[in-house]
């Protein structure tokens, strides 16, 4: 059987497309299931509001699904578009694009379920603020999608860039590493951002007067919890756009692949941890608005400390790229 480059590129595209929507389906489904369970518990407390809760459940689930829809778009493009096959690097790029989007959709899908669930429960507890709760849920779960948008950017760059002039060794390691860095690091930030948004929806239901400060601090917490995903995006960009000299040994390719893995896996924990740290801040600001200054400062310092492990991972992955 003749196996030219085009065959391999098609093979990688099919495999990448399958993995993209396969992994991408995990997160959204979990998030949507959580939302539905919270909606049911809300309805059982106050059946009179069943209509409102049902509506807000559907809206929340629709947003939680958008990460999966991104993965579906990437999978469709990988399956149906003709990707020009210039070199074997394209094989790695197409496969990495699928992996990046697939992993990247997990966190945002799970995360976006938390604010939707909290909004359903909150609506029953405090029916008069259901409008504000819906707005807060929409903002929170939209910001939750940011890590998956970063993974989407990386996978589009991987699909549509021309890697023809790059040497196969060690570029394939860099390309695969870029996909893994952007995809894996988005998991933690997505879940973390969701935890923060959920705490904020709950807080608004408890203390409707505190809508503005709680929403502001929620945005701040989510933005900082996204830092690991952004560092993953940075490492992915460096791995894609830096030109690496051709090599005969296997070591440089492995160093570049390791660098991507290091940033990707290293970003999962800090993202979730920062989300938990910030959810505490948001939750207690809603109950004790008077001490917002002290609470915010403690939250920010705690998040910075939780973030330091992501920075260690970034230092090691930059060392792997530039020194080794």
């Amino acid at each position: 059987m003749e196996q030219d480059i085009q065959t391999w590129v098609n093979l990688a595209a099919y495999l990448g497309g399958g993995l993209s929507i396969g992994f991408g389906a995990i997160g959204a489904a979990i998030g949507e299931g959580y939302t539905a369970s919270q909606a049911n518990s809300a309805i059982s407390r106050n059946p009179a509001l069943a209509g409102d809760v049902f509506k807000s459940m559907l809206v929340g689930q629709a947003i939680a699904e958008s990460a999966s829809v991104f993965a579906l778009v990437v999978a469709m493009i990988l399956l149906f578009s003709n990707i020009p096959a210039d070199s074997f690097v394209t094989v790695a790029a197409v496969f990495a694009a699928g992996l990046s989007m697939g992993f990247g959709a997990i966190g945002s899908g799970v995360g976006a379920g938390f604010p939707a669930g909290a909004a359903c429960v909150g609506m029953v507890r405090q029916p008069s603020v259901s409008g504000k709760l819906t707005t807060n849920m929409l903002i929170g779960s939209a910001v939750c999608q940011t890590p998956s948008i970063f993974a989407l950017v990386v996978s589009f760059i991987l699909i549509f860039s021309d890697f023809g002039s790059y040497p196969l060794w060690p570029t394939w390691g860099a390309i695969l590493g870029a996909g893994l860095a952007a995809g894996l690091s988005a998991i933690g930030s997505g879940i973390g951002g969701g935890i923060v948004a959920g705490a904020s929806s709950e807080g608004i239901a408890r203390q409707p007067a505190a809508v503005t400060p709680v929403t502001n601090i929620m945005l701040l917490g989510q933005a900082i919890a996204q830092t690991p995903a952004i560092l993953g995006l940075l490492v992915a960009f460096i791995l894609i756009f830096k030109e690496f000299g051709a090599s005969d040994t296997i070591a440089p390719a492995m160093a570049l692949l390791g660098s991507g893995l290091c940033m990707g896996i290293g970003g999962i924990g800090p993202g979730i941890g920062e989300g938990i740290a910030s959810s505490g801040g948001v939750k207690w600001i809603a109950r004790n608005e008077k001490d917002i200054g002290t609470l915010t400062r403690t939250m920010l310092v705690g998040m910075a400390v939780a973030e330091s492990t992501a920075i260690y991972a970034m230092v090691i992955s930059l060392v792997l790229i530039f020194v080794v």
Binding site: I224, T227, I230
Partner: protein, 224 residues
């Protein structure tokens, strides 16, 4: 689909080096500045006790952002830094919204725009830190909790520039790519207006606000 990632550049050779200008980003940010100037003139012209539409809008903008700055920085510093915050937010929000007009693109889609604003915020924050605490107390913070942590603390500070600018860039760039690809896949039927409303107006406003908030918070963390 061919437009994806295409950048119009003006390259001027200058004694061995090349000066590269990204024309898109420059022209569109000039358009945004022009719009802000027009808004400013309209809002302040014919001021009165009974305000007209534009004056109401302008007062709303300024008073909301002023209150936000005052919450984070205190009354004294808000007088100095609130104009910066207002200008930053207005510039960013118009930058992110301008992409919904056909044939115009967001200047923030070019990494240079958010990165330069991020570097600006970084320098202002550290200037405030040195000014309020004195250089000695400012420098001492880098050696906490241990002496050997200094390089990591410095990298952590620099990572703030990366995170603030890549967040804006990634969101706007991602939204633009999604709109382009989905419009291409569906032959521009039905979906693009909704996508523009979500990624252009909604996400654009949120990200502009997040960028502004983070700049204020970085300043307030340094000041205390």
């Amino acid at each position: 689909m061919e437009e994806l990632g295409k950048v119009y550049q003006l390259i001027i050779p200058l004694s061995g080096h090349k000066m590269v200008f990204n024309l898109d980003a420059i022209v569109y940010s000039w358009i945004v500045m022009l719009l802000i100037l027009v808004f400013g003139v309209m809002a302040t012209r014919k001021r009165g006790v009974i305000p007209n539409y534009m004056q109401v809008l302008g007062e709303l903008f300024v008073s909301k952002l002023y209150a936000l700055t005052e919450d984070a920085l205190g009354e004294d510093m808000a007088k100095t830094y609130a104009p910066l915050v207002c200008a930053l937010f207005m510039f960013l929000v118009l930058c992110n919204w301008i992409g919904i007009i056909p044939h115009l693109e967001e200047p923030t889609k070019d990494l240079n725009t958010p990165l330069s604003l991020g570097v600006m915020g970084f320098f202002i924050a550290h200037y405030v830190g040195i000014k309020t605490k004195g250089f000695k107390a400012y420098a001492k913070e880098y050696f906490e909790p241990f002496f050997i942590m200094a390089p990591l603390n410095i990298i952590g500070e620099l990572a703030k520039i990366v995170s603030i600018s890549f967040r804006l860039f990634g969101n706007i760039m991602g939204g633009a790519i999604i709109i382009l690809v989905v419009s291409y896949l569906t032959y521009s039927i039905l979906l693009p207006p909704f996508l523009n409303a979500f990624f252009g107006i909604f996400v654009g406003a949120i990200q502009a606000f997040v960028f502004t908030m983070l700049t204020v918070v970085y300043i307030s963390v340094q000041a205390k």
